[in-house]
């Protein structure tokens, strides 16, 4: 029962941890040892039960639910963009965005049902309405939003029932923001420290990321002069996302570690580079189709990487007991219990 050396140095040392050491020892890279270490409380010692996790890792799959975070965001804000573009006279952008919204929300539905342990019972989601369950709220939102997004796209493509199409476009544009942001509540309303403790920032991060995705799709598919609202959306969404991410990491403190190291850290760093590059390309390439399209692709990819990064970072904080125990121990000690 010797204290085990940790790859990250003295900041998260632990006594009595015996299992699993090979797997976790290499996790802290140079970045973790250097910059992060200064932010952490030095010499935090904590005890766990054989290094076992305290909480269970959420039963959600990476391609399904992480992908849904991206697709739901893309769909929701595409509907916002479609409504704005239609009103301001950008018909092509409106059409592209409506089709994107329908495609993304359809794939979302497939991913969500596929992730269930008992997919054949997906309809039980609408058995009750519970505001205390973001998944219940989301299910009802989706069941209202999906048909509206579908009607908006079908009416636009076929030209039938234009008045109904406009109503559906506006309706989807009003519900889309809910679709794009409720997923933050879905993640944060768990015991997963890396998500829950960031609940004040996550919705803005998701709104910004979803804006980048929807803007990116418009920029990717249309010439720059036809995609001006998408460019505007990118200039609003990308800075919002970057700022929200900064605030999120500051709020998380020690728990931010997985957001900056390992695989989720790499995903999020790549996402940040692509977001900045995409924003710059969208603004600077406003007269160049190729640059504008490349910027759009960057923003789309950035949004996907951000969601996968956030998802996986949270999973790391569920898996490693230190992220659960150390903050709770500190809280308990501050209150003076035992």
């Amino acid at each position: 029962m010797t204290p085990e050396p940790e790859g990250r140095g003295a900041d998260w040392t632990e006594e009595r941890r015996r299992s699993d050491e090979g797997r976790r020892r290499h996790k802290g890279g140079p970045a973790a040892r250097g910059r992060r270490a200064e932010l952490m409380v030095p010499d935090v010692e904590f005890t766990s039960y054989y290094g076992r996790p305290v909480i269970k890792e959420p039963a959600w799959g990476v391609p399904d639910i992480a992908g849904y975070l991206f697709l739901g965001g893309l769909a929701g804000v595409s509907s916002v963009l479609a409504a704005g573009a239609q009103v301001s006279g950008y018909g092509e952008l409106a059409r592209v965005s409506k089709v994107a919204a329908l495609g993304a929300i359809s794939l979302s539905a497939v991913a969500l049902v596929h992730d269930l342990g008992r997919p054949e019972r997906f309809a039980n989601m609408l058995r009750v309405f519970k505001p205390s369950s973001p998944m219940s709220v989301g299910s009802w939102l989706l069941s209202a939003y999906g048909p509206l997004a579908g009607a908006a796209a079908v009416c636009d493509l076929t030209g039938i029932l234009p008045a109904a199409g406009t109503a559906a476009t506006v309706g989807a544009g009003l519900l889309g923001p809910g679709i794009a942001t409720y997923t933050a509540a879905l993640l944060c309303d768990t015991a997963v420290p890396g998500w829950h403790e960031g609940h004040r920032e996550m919705p803005y991060l998701f709104a910004g990321s979803a804006s980048c995705a929807a803007a990116g799709l418009g920029l990717l598919t249309l010439p720059p002069e036809a995609a001006r609202p998408a460019r505007t959306l990118a200039t609003l969404g990308a800075p919002a996302e970057l700022a929200a991410k900064r605030l999120l990491l500051r709020r998380l403190g020690d728990i931010a570690e997985p957001y900056e190291t390992g695989r989720p850290g790499r995903l999020l760093r790549a996402a940040e580079l692509l977001t900045v590059g995409g924003l710059a390309g969208a603004v600077l390439g406003r007269r160049n189709r190729a640059v504008s399209a490349l910027a759009g692709a960057s923003l789309l990819a950035a949004s996907a990487l951000t969601r996968f990064g956030v998802f996986e970072a949270g999973m790391v904080t569920a898996r490693d007991p230190k992220y659960t125990i150390v903050p709770q121990r500190r809280r308990r000690d501050l209150r003076g219990i035992n």
């Binding site: 015996r18 299992s19 005890t47 766990s48 039960y49 054989y50 076992r52 996790p53 305290v54 909480i55 269970k56 890792e57 039963a59 959600w60 916002v80 963009l81 704005g84 573009a85 239609q86 301001s88 006279g89 342990g117 008992r118 019972r121 997906f122 039980n124 989601m125 058995r127 009750v128 519970k130 205390s132 369950s133 973001p134 544009g173 889309g176 923001p177 809910g178 794009a180 933050a184 944060c188 309303d189 768990t190 015991a191 997963v192 829950h196 609940h199 004040r200 919705p203 803005y204 709104a207 804006s211 959306l233 609003l236 969404g237 007991p321 659960t324 308990r332 209150r335 219990i337 035992n338």
Partner: protein, 273 residues
């Protein structure tokens, strides 16, 4: 302030809130509770392997483990029951049947419900295996079973309680480490017991989840521990995640409002001719 969860759930008349008091100081690690639980509830086998974690080859609570006995071989000095600088800690863990229950709050189908005894139970015929309860539980109790895809956990033997019997684990416990009864009585008994232990020199003896003012409103199952909770794999200061839900929804609402405003702003532009 003590909340009565069954009344809050809408039961007009109901029996007293029933629960477990697990006094780990007299647990001998026999695992009769684990066996009795599996037998009574027909919980399937979920892995037979040697872990190297002392005598604990059960590892932790899960979809098919509703009682779990933890074994800690602890080097100590100056503790009353220490022999040769070493002591055993053994503790039978179980679902806490929280007063403020995260799994119940987040369940989107209503499969999880509050019983008239104040306990929390999954209706297997309603659960669609969404897995939300799994990540919401601050104790890592509930989990999804691989083969049937549904979420499972301790029912506090809802069927036995309905027939006026005590849960299988408490019935099987040979030392009365697991005590079952009306929660109020258990709390009184536990308060006396921890006083005795402290007087006998067990300085770290403490009650865990007995306080109705803690982060989960107190457990329907609570524990007497001889060391800090994390030593046993329990979170030191659990808080039900839905306590922050008003704040979560507020920020989601503000972010969504920002997107609506963005859409309106985009609509105000005019395409240059």
């Amino acid at each position: 302030m003590s909340i009565d969860p069954a009344s809050r759930a809408g039961y007009l008349e109901h029996p007293p809130r029933m629960g477990f008091f697990t006094d780990t100081s007299i647990c001998i690690g026999c695992k009769a509770c684990e066996v009795a639980c599996k037998e009574w509830n027909a919980v399937p086998e979920d892995g037979i392997e040697l872990t190297g974690m002392s005598y604990d080859n059960t590892v932790g609570l899960g979809a098919s483990t509703w009682r779990h006995v933890a074994f800690i071989e602890q080097p100590v000095t100056g503790v009353a029951d220490a022999a040769e600088g070493f002591r055993w800690l053994m503790a039978s863990d179980v679902c806490k049947h929280c007063t403020e229950s995260a799994c119940l709050d987040v369940c989107p189908t209503g499969a999880l419900f509050r019983t008239e005894f104040g306990t929390v139970v999954v209706q297997d015929d309603v659960c669609n295996g969404c897995g939300y309860c799994v990540g919401a539980c601050p104790f890592g109790v509930i989990a999804r079973r691989e083969d049937d895809g549904g979420a499972h956990k301790c029912t506090l033997c809802y069927d036995r309680l309905g027939a006026g019997m005590e849960p299988a684990c408490a019935k099987a416990c040979p030392t009365e480490s697991i005590q079952f009864g009306p929660l109020d009585e258990l709390r009184e008994r536990a308060a006396l017991r921890v006083q005795d232990l402290r007087a006998a020199g067990q300085d770290h003896a403490q009650l865990y989840l007995d306080d109705p003012d803690d982060g989960i409103g107190g457990g329907g199952a609570f524990f007497l521990l001889l060391d800090e909770p994390e030593v046993y794999g329990l979170p030191p200061d659990p808080v039900v995640t839905t306590r922050d839900l008003p704040s979560i929804w507020k920020h989601v609402g503000l972010a969504a409002a920002g997107l609506v405003a963005t859409g309106i702003a985009l609509g105000l532009g005019r395409r240059p001719r």
